[in-house]
Symmetry: C2
Subunit: 141 residues, 2 copies
């Protein structure tokens, strides 16, 4: 059986995060994003940078239900992990400073205080692991 | 601007499909699957093989709202496409025969009539294209 620790090791190796929301018509919406900037293993919290003006931010503000999905597809092995939880939009200076990186001025001209820069904080509570043709829920709490 | 034709060309090159559903608690659920077995360009229909017993099939039977997402991440360019629509679960012989491939007996021991083999038929109606830091809706109907 896989452990929470091994799942997070796999997530650490992923360069892409797939995040999903539910839109105002009740449809799931999915998007690839960069790897989380910060992960809190004990609390199952993942932090992403994003644009305040984006469609996704509006959806999470209306409905925080979310999932994040990570996967690795090798030649002989497929591994995936879906974590279900809630997404919070953070615009306070402390949260924005916390995950800011120097290169981010390329995307947010006004720097860390750019009003179009904000933080998505995901908190997971339920985790399903997929490997080849098996899958099972893994306790992460 | 990108065209529907170019979007479908990109989808044809993708080896992985990301499909999402909404679970009974209203949370989005996401999973990577293989490329669609068949795509109907004019009707925006995508056909996938799956397990009748899977969690996803149960979710789509209860709530057909779905999205499929495809992306390509090159060294210098990122492209993604989200199509929103509905997912239908097909268990009739004709649909099952239509996308069956010889090697599938590896997964479905009883062959095309295996009760655990079924077809997911996605019909899209709304499409959003992402490229680097731009994104826009593309008319596919």
């Amino acid at each position: 059986m896989i452990t929470k620790e091994k799942i997070y090791q796999m997530i650490n190796d992923c360069k892409v995060s797939i995040i999903s929301s539910v839109d105002s018509d009740g449809y799931p919406n999915t998007k690839a994003m960069l790897a989380p900037r910060k992960i809190d293993y004990d609390k199952n919290e993942f932090y992403f940078t994003t644009n305040t003006s984006s469609m996704r931010v509006g959806q999470y503000a209306d409905n925080p239900k979310a999932c994040v999905y990570f996967y690795q597809k090798g030649r002989f092995k497929y591994q995936g992990v879906m974590i279900i939880g809630t997404m919070e939009v953070l615009t306070d200076t402390e949260s924005k400073n916390d995950i800011w990186r120097v290169g981010d001025t390329m995307f947010y001209k006004q720097g860390v205080s750019d009003p179009d820069y904000c933080v998505l904080k995901f908190k997971g509570y339920k985790c399903k692991y997929y490997c080849d043709f098996k899958h099972y829920w893994v306790d992460i709490e």
